[in-house]
Each structure stands twice: as structure tokens, then as C-alpha cells.
Amino acid sequence: MRRRWPWAVGLLVGVLLTCLVVLWYRQAPPKASTDVFRWGADEKGGAPYVYLGDNDELTGFEVDLANELARRLGMRSEFVSKSWENLPEDLRRGDIDVILNGYEWSPARERRMASTIPYYNATVRLMVPAEPPKGKEAIDSWDALRQRNKDGSKKRVAVQRGALTETYMRREFSNDVDILAFKEGTDNAMRLVRNGVADATVQDDLTAGYYAEHGFQDLRFPDADREVPGRGYYVNFVRPQDTALRDRINDALRKMTEDGTLKAIYEKQGIWSKRQEGLAKLAEHWPPEDVEPERTLLDETELLIKSAGVTVVLAVLSFPVALLCGLFIGLGRLYGPRFLALPLTAYVEVIRGTPILLQFYVIYYLLPYAGITLSGFAAGLFGLALNYSAYEAENARAGLLAVPKGQMEAALALGMSRWTALRHVIIPQALRIVVPPVTNDFISLFKDTSICSVVAVTELTGGYEQLRIAEPDHILRLAALTTILYLLMSYPLSLVARRLEKRAVKVTV
């Protein structure tokens, strides 16, 4: 009992210190500036919103819109570059005063932030390859999405995570279609359609229209004339307490609609459409009385637990593969023929020396060009196994080297071949030696499964992100739930690891 006190005291002191620091730095709730129009957007989100054009100049209709708004408000326009998905948090923290970046109005967002009247009314477009890929049928309409592929799989449709397109697809097609939601889901999603990873992508009409003329002429829009039901109101968001700023923006937007400035901005970018003529009417009763049931704690817990299941499956399937590959790489380097040692060493160094994210991009986006198209799940498994095989190879090598030389000699002197000696004498001892680092790596891989969200596999972190974007006002409880789930999974692993370590130490003399 006595030995437990030091860490308990340490923990308590740590928590107290953290509380103090938090209290010290806690600021008054942020308030919007009155002379700088600080608007947040993500220039990596893609054209035609905000993007880096020729000469790396900030371009896009939202840039023009922001500048015009700032001018009419008598303020200086200041663009703040942020990650699209985190804009609500940036707003809350006070890093920006306005979100202006293709954010769709939703009741959940209205609960967390104050919306201006809409500045654009977007709809969705289906994009498919102009020439259906070999062995696949052409997708000629939205309804064709519901038909299974020849191999019985659902059609795979790539969308931008958290955007209008994901909301729409989940509402209308969630049972019939495999929805792949990407953090970078505009031109990347189109690339996936081109190389066959996805069967189609759904984009809003702005994005689809722009890229159909810039770089993706090989994709087409079936059913383009069909009016798709959906809200699609792009609005600005400000903090709930900044109602004065919101009212001023609303005034400016109304005047811009009346005097044709808005239309001029849109026409300059070639994105004016008939739908935009209804904006003024929409703005008369704002915000709309759209009731959408708020997700309950139960709904969210259910989705998070399901995602946690995916995390477990990914870890449990990929790690044994990594371990086995690592063992053989380690053996090859130490005992294999000389011509094998160099390529194996190179393999380990390349895999260890490059970011796991890059490896996932190569597997998911580039391998299709070599004729190997993997689903997100397969790519996730492969990526994790590949990455960890390099680390396990090093573990294996260290373990094999740690077995005393006399062991191999004794086995050889009994007349065993080298492989027999390795199998029965050296490897069993090496494995016991590397139990601690290997279990450590397993726990680490467990958390690294979150990287699979870049290939649209909804594991725990992905599930958290999905919910957080849809229900920004639930962020605290979502974060707490996610943390608890990760701990529930990794803590038992740590306990197992500790027991294994004790046993391992006993065996190695």
C-alpha cells in the first residue's frame, strides 16, 4: 500500500497544476472586432470557394464576397487560414469572428452558432466516369446508385466529410450506398472515381461545375437537371453573442442582393444560377423553422461503439500480419543470404523514415494506377500492417541478437539445420525477449488505427469526427465518450502486456 502513494500524490499535484493553468489563462468570452473583418476559411478546401490561384494568390468567390462585405461594413478584411472541419471551434475560441466557407445551415449548427441569411443556395451533383470502367455498368441516374455492383457490393460514393453532400447522402441513400466520407473530399474524391476506388462522387454544384472544366473533364453528371431536395443554404456563422455583427452582415447581404453586386460576383466566377434568385425570398424568414431531431446521447454512444468495433478489428487483424512479416524481415537480415540483407534493410528504413499518412496515400490513391485497387478497409489493414512490419522487424532483430551465441552453437552441435535451430531454439527465446516492446507497439498501433479515417474507414476517431461536425454543440460529451472508449480498449491491453512482461522476464536468464 505504501508504495502506491507517490504516484497518487503526483497525479493529484498534476491535476491541480493543470486546473491552475487553465484558470489563469481562461479568457473572457471572445468578442468580435469592430474594425477588422476576420473571416476563417480553408484555402485547401478547393475551388471555387477559396483557393490559391495563379501566383499563389488567394482566389475564389468567397474571397470577393468577404472583401465586399468588409468594405460595406467599413472594416478591413482579414483572411484567417483554418482547417475546414474545425472552423466552429476556431470561432468559439476567438481566432476568427466569421465562418465564411461553404458551411451549410443546419439546426445543429444553429444551436451552437448564429447564422446570417444565406449567400448561396447550393444543390448536389452526381459525378461518374464518362466511360464506365471495365466490368462495371454505367451509372445513368441517381436511382442507379441503389443498384448493387455485379459482385453484389454496394456502390461506393465518395463525399466531403461534414459537408452538404455527406448530409444529403446519409439522409437519402444511407442503406443502399457505401458512403465514403473524406476529410479532403473534393478533387481527391474525383480522383478516386477516376482510378476506380469509388464508383461515383457527390459534390455540390459549385465544386462539380468548377472541376468538370478544370482537370476532370473525364467525369460527367447524370441527371444534372433533376432538382435534388436538400437545404443547401450556405451561410456565414458568427458567435451567438455577436448578434450585432450578424445583423450588419445581414443588412449588407440584403443590399448586395438588391443592387446586383452579389450576382456580379457570382457571374464573374461563372456560378450564378437560377436558384440564387430565390435567396431574397428565403432571407425573409430566417432562420428557417426546420426541425431536425437532435441526436441523443444514446444514438451517439451507439455509433461510437460501432466505430470502436472497427478500431478493434483493424488492430487485431493488422498486427499479427505486421509481427509475422517483421519476424521474417528480421530473420532475413540476420541469417538470410547476403543479397537479401540490403533490400530488407532498405525496406525497413524507407517505411520507418516516411510518414504513415504518406504511405496511406500511396496505397489508396496511387496503387490503383498500378492496377491494384483496394477498398478503404483493405487499404487500412494493408497500410497498418506495412507500417508496423518495419518496427516489428527492428524488434525482431533486437530480440534475435539478444539470444546468446551459445544457444545457436548448442543447437547446431546437436545436428540441427540453421532453420530448425532458429525455429525451436532461437525464435522462441527472441519472442520472449521482445514481448515488452511488441505489446507497446500493439497499443500504439491501436491508436494509430485512427489514420484509417483518411481512407474513409469510420473507426473510433472517424466516428467522433463525423458526429462532432454534425453536432458541434455536443463536442464535449463526444470527446469524453471517445476518450473513455479508447481507454476501455487500451487499458486492458496494458494489463495483459504487464503480465506478459513478468512472465517473459522469468524465462530469460
Binding site: Q407, A410, L414, G415, M416, S417, P428, Q429, V507, V509
Partner: protein, 247 residues
């Protein structure tokens, strides 16, 4: 039965074996003695191919090993090692296996014999070295003398034509060394061919048929113990023996 002819072995730093020759007849107990660093252990390890040599040859019955780097898993090497057992100074038992599994490791994994057979024989061998009650023990639970006796049983399990002992008692205190030497003397009485590298002069006097004295990579004196110990012709041998037995 075993003969080494003109073995030469160079490490990067110098010559360890300098044209050494040695031959052992069936049923003979040959003891190799000599000051530290004279190459006696290296000679022993060349006999079963644990060390390579540059020149000369080793012959065990019809099996011939020549100088140069042999293929690690060559048939000759495997056959040769199955015919020559080896007992190491540091025992080199397999720590992850029980005593019984250590003794059956050779027959089972090198020869592919069924487990039940191998275990039956292993129990008998453990009884023979006085460890019938220790079949389930792990090496770490045994004393050094007990471990070395398990190692002898492990070598015997392969029915070797000869057993090579590489300073089998150097890591043991006198009492434990005596346990091991008694087992070795028993083996010798039963007609087991043995090549023993050792510093235990008493054992050499009592048990050996032939004593080889090595000096600087060569055998400089060779004959029955009485002759070597009491009437050595070479001055260096007399000096070495005086020192070794005087201690």
C-alpha cells in the same frame, strides 16, 4: 576414428592453429591440455565445424571436412555434428525448455523422432546422470553441476560416436566439478569415445588413454598420461605441468 590433419586457422589478429594434427581411436578417451590461448578449444570446435579453418582437413569415419567456408547447412556438416556430441563450458542449455525437452531436442528436432520415443530414452539418460527427479525442472532451477549433467545427457541422446567436451568443469566450483567428472569417468568406462579439453589434470591422469599437450597452435607432446605427466621431453610441457599441478 577422428583425425585432424595439419589444421591451420587464422583470425584477423593471428594464427590460432598452426598445422595441428590429432587422431582419436574408437573407444579412446583423449584429453587435450595446454595453457590458455593455445588453441585447444578452437581445435575442438573445428572438429564439429562450429569454427571454420583455412587449411588441413578433419575426418570422422568417412565424413571429410576441408578448409574454407563450408555451406552452413551442408549435408556433411549436419551428418558430422550428429555423429559428434558436444558439451560446452557454459552448458548452453535451452532456457525456455524443461530438462526433459532439452534432452529430447536433438532427437526430435534434428532427427525427427517421435516425442514419446525420445522422452522414454531421455528419462533413462537423465537417470544415468543422476537427475531422474528433475525432468520437469527448468535449467535456471538447477545448479551448475546439474545443468552440465543435463547437457551431457542431451549430447548422449543423439547416440554420438564421440563426444567433445569443451572445458566442461571450468565454470563450476570443485564439488560440482567432481559430480560432472564422475559422470564423465563413468562414460569413459562404458567405452564412450571422448575428446576432452580440460584443466582438470587429475581427471586426465586417471581417465585419459592419450594426453595431447598443445602450445601455440600445435600439439607438442602426445602419449599415455604416465609418459606425458612424468617423462615429458619438451621443456615447455614440463614447465606448464609443474605450474598446473603445483596449483
Amino acid at each position: 576414428m577422428i583425425s585432424a590433419r595439419n589444421l591451420v586457422k587464422d583470425y584477423g589478429t593471428g594464427r590460432v592453429l598452426n598445422g595441428v594434427s590429432l587422431s582419436v581411436e574408437k573407444g579412446e578417451v583423449a584429453v587435450v591440455i595446454g595453457p590458455s590461448g593455445c588453441g585447444k578449444s578452437t581445435l575442438l570446435r573445428c572438429l564439429n565445424g562450429l569454427e571454420m579453418f583455412q587449411e588441413g582437413e578433419v575426418q570422422v569415419d568417412e565424413l571429410r571436412l576441408e578448409g574454407g567456408i563450408p555451406d552452413a547447412d551442408s549435408a556433411v556438416l549436419l551428418a558430422l555434428r550428429r555423429r559428434l556430441g558436444m558439451v560446452f563450458q557454459q552448458f548452453n542449455l535451452f532456457p525456455h525448455m524443461s530438462t526433459l525437452d532439452n534432452v529430447t531436442a536433438g532427437p526430435r528436432f534434428a532427427l525427427g523422432r517421435p516425442r514419446a520415443d525420445a522422452e522414454k530414452e531421455a528419462r533413462a539418460l537423465l537417470a544415468r546422470v543422476g537427475l531422474a527427479d528433475f525432468t520437469a525442472a527448468r535449467p535456471e532451477q538447477l545448479s551448475g553441476g546439474q545443468q552440465q549433467r543435463v547437457a551431457i545427457a542431451r549430447a548422449l541422446a543423439m547416440h554420438p560416436a564421440a563426444i567433445l567436451f569443451d572445458e566442461p568443469t571450468s565454470a563450476l566450483d570443485p564439488r560440482m566439478a567432481n559430480e560432472v567428472l564422475r559422470v564423465m569417468a563413468d562414460l569413459a568406462r562404458s567405452g564412450q569415445t571422448m575428446v576432452v579439453v580440460t584443466h582438470a589434470m587429475g581427471f586426465a591422469r586417471r581417465v585419459a588413454q592419450t594426453v595431447h599437450v598443445m602450445f601455440a597452435g600445435q600439439v607438442i607432446e602426445c602419449g599415455p598420461p604416465a609418459q606425458v605427466f612424468d617423462r615429458a621431453g619438451d621443456e615447455r610441457v614440463r614447465a606448464f605441468l609443474a605450474e598446473a599441478e603445483g596449483a
